[in-house]
Symmetry: C2
């Protein structure tokens, strides 16, 4: 159960931009160096994010990329839905290519749908501003045991 590297890098790029002081502009080169990621790879990610309307580009000297709208208006769920190309948890989620013969009488699909909706409902509660925050405005009460490092 993984998100694609493309989604992972998209979120990292957006969080990097979110944290910048006004006017929140950076070059792809700078972000690639910070994250030690291939610049070519990050160019593809940035082009996709620009096409989706999450970032905008200013050309020329002093130019770069920046968020196209305020971070508090961009949902984490929205980003994941747009960047994660395949949301078909299992084969039967995609009717045209499904080969599973259980499909017409199997409640596993309903179970997995419900789980996926619960997953996305959590992401829909948070914005890029939340995800990028250094503070404590993300609800950690749902977590227990193996907590992520928060400081």
């Amino acid at each position: 159960m993984q998100l694609t590297q493309f989604t992972d890098l998209s979120l990292r790029l957006l969080i990097y931009l979110t944290r910048l002081p006004e006017p929140g502009m950076a070059t792809i080169q700078e972000i690639a160096e910070y994250h030690q990621i291939s610049r070519n790879h990050l160019v593809k990610v940035a082009n996709s994010l620009a096409n989706q309307g999450f970032i905008m580009t200013t050309r020329g000297k002093g130019g770069g990329i920046q968020l196209a709208r305020p971070a508090y208006t961009i949902g984490v769920g929205e980003v994941v839905r747009r960047t994660e190309l395949n949301m078909n948890l299992v084969e039967c989620f995609d009717a045209p290519t499904n080969q599973c013969r259980l499909i017409r009488n199997c409640f596993l699909k309903a179970t997995l749908y419900e789980a996926q909706r619960a997953f996305m409902a959590v992401l829909d509660k948070y914005t890029l501003a939340d995800a990028a925050s250094f503070g404590t405005n993300v609800d950690l009460s749902a977590l227990s045991g193996d907590k992520p490092q928060t400081s």
Copy 2:
């Protein structure tokens, strides 16, 4: 966002066995033919499920595989946790291999943890008996819009 094919096939095999009349025994060949899946691939899945204690094998004529315990005692979440080898949604979930420099002050990780827990909490509500059922004992109320085919 996908589960692996290994998990998908594990669930199909277990649901196939769950639906059999007593004593619930089948050969791998029979299941491979039913699902039109490579027998060799299914042998690996069955070996893994046997090692995990989900199924047991009876050798010799009339032998085959069957559930090692009643379907209503095997949670869908339990199966997914055991068969899905990589539950690291993004790179920073795995501290030893993480390269992301945002890790020590990023709430995205907490957000994704919370979402994954919500996902697994749904799967933990259901057993193989629920998932294999032809009836309506799976709660569909959490679903809306694009409902899975249920008959």
